[in-house]
């Protein structure tokens, strides 16, 4: 066992220097990341404010154009970007239909609503935004301001947000904890309690589901938007896509 570990094989000063360099850079990266603080991206505020401006903008307004371009599928956004401002909306690709939405079943109940099913909520609205989240998930929490803004801006225009609460860990399945967290986090839109994660796995095909993941369901029960992660651009696209779908309705 003695002397068996491989460091002696790399005794050259060059090897040691390289190893020391890598070690220093690695430690510096960790320290720098820790010192620069949590990633509470300004994007959430951006997400909330930029689309609002876009909503109120006159045709041809640069903000409106940006939001509209971002609503296009990512692969085509670059192509659409240089289009003349006044004709941007004509140059946009249609919002793709990504498939038929599933229903929500085997739920433990609902919070913040008298509805008892996703169908009831869909029947009362043109568009339904469905987000899979859990209150212990930090990335999910970062999206809540943007969702709150969307909910506030569009709830009177036939758009409802549904948070499907699918717990990752045991303590997140406790309803009292969910109610407390929802109040603290300002989640005022309907929450579907997917305690067994049945819907989490049905909606997210494949071996792994992700938090957060957000969908837009149109009035024909078709999925028109599907994104994972908490990116500010994701929630800007979400907002702009809702706007476009409302305009097309």
């Amino acid at each position: 066992m003695g002397g068996a570990y491989a460091a002696p094989q790399m005794k050259s000063s060059l090897s040691r220097s390289v190893a020391a360099g890598v070690l220093l850079v690695g430690v510096a990266l960790i320290v720098w990341t820790a010192v620069s603080g949590p990633d509470d991206e300004p994007g959430i505020t951006e997400t909330a404010s930029t689309p609002t401006a876009a909503t109120q903008a006159e045709p041809g307004d640069a903000l409106a154009t940006t939001a509209a371009v971002e609503a296009a599928p990512r692969a085509t956004a670059t192509t659409a970007a240089p289009a003349p401002t006044t004709t941007t909306s004509e140059a946009l690709e249609p919002i793709p239909v990504l498939g038929t939405a599933f229903t929500l079943s085997k739920l433990d109940g609902w919070l913040n609503t008298e509805a008892m099913s996703l169908e009831e909520i869909r029947a009362d609205n043109e568009i339904t935004v469905v987000q899979f989240w859990t209150f212990g998930c930090r990335n999910c929490k970062k999206t809540l301001d943007a969702l709150g803004q969307l909910h506030a801006d569009f709830r009177d225009r036939g758009v409802e947000v549904v948070g499907v609460h699918s717990p990752e860990f045991g303590y997140e399945a406790n309803v009292d904890n969910i109610i407390k967290a929802a109040a603290e986090l300002g989640v005022v839109w309907p929450i579907a309690l997917d305690t067994t994660k049945y819907n989490f796995h049905v909606w997210q095909e494949g071996p792994t589901g992700y938090w957060p993941r957000v969908y837009i369901i149109d009035s024909d029960n078709q999925i028109r938007f599907d994104r994972r992660g908490d990116g500010a651009h994701t929630y800007r696209e979400l907002y702009a896509t809702v706007e476009r779908l409302l305009a097309e309705a």
């Binding site: 460091a7 890598v22 070690l23 990266l29 990341t33 990512r74 045991g170 071996p207 992700y210 938090w211």
Partner: protein
């Protein structure tokens, strides 16, 4: 370049989060156990974890981490620690195998905290394979940076190597590894991590 750095730092930023610990802690334990092949184990562990995490998102891996598959994973995980312990050196197939299999298990079982950059990787995985695989590897280097640094530290500072070679470190790694394997096999791994996270979150 900016994308690479942002991806790396997003990985580093979540090192202490519960979702990351599920991949990091078993890897750290494996590296501590692999006293004669730490760097090999760490590198293969990182590469395999990145590949499996990407493969799932890209739709190339369809075995869900549920039911009997997880029980088998627990047994296989125990095997990786035995292999890492017995690996005679860096070129040993045991070291390579322990790193690859241990990393693959970690990538398969990982339930990531999906931030901005990782969200983009996952969203585009099925349509932009090579690019997203490379970015996933960069992200995973960030997530697993502590174990990579521990593996490389003995080459920069031989005293660290001598310290890590002491039996208590290997025993600590083996104990964590055993707990990991048993928790997996009896289906309690998520609950174990969740309980730690609940305590730290104050619920």
């Amino acid at each position: 370049m900016g994308t690479l750095i942002d991806t790396l730092t997003e990985g580093i930023r979540v090192i202490t989060w519960a979702c990351t610990l599920t991949a990091l802690v078993p890897g750290l334990a494996l590296v501590l156990v692999a006293r004669r092949a730490r760097l090999t184990v760490a590198l293969y562990y990182t590469a395999a974890a990145a590949f499996l995490a990407w493969a799932q998102a890209a739709g190339h891996w369809w075995v869900a981490a549920r039911g009997a598959a997880v029980v088998i994973a627990g047994i296989v995980a125990a095997g990786t620690y035995v292999a890492a312990w017995r690996a005679p050196g860096h070129s040993s197939p045991l070291a390579t195998g322990a790193g690859l299999v241990g990393g693959a298990l970690a990538g398969w079982l990982w339930r990531p905290c999906v931030g901005d950059r990782l969200g983009d990787i996952l969203n585009d995985a099925s349509t932009a394979g090579p690019r997203t695989l490379a970015l996933m590897a960069v992200y995973m280097v960030g997530v697993l940076l502590p174990l990579l640094l521990i593996a490389i530290a003995p080459y920069a500072v031989p005293g660290v190597g001598r310290m890590l070679d002491r039996l208590p470190f290997a025993i600590a790694g083996a104990a964590v590894g055993a707990a990991y394997a048993v928790a997996l096999a009896i289906g309690q791994y998520d609950d174990l991590i969740g309980e730690l996270y609940r305590i730290s979150a104050g619920y």
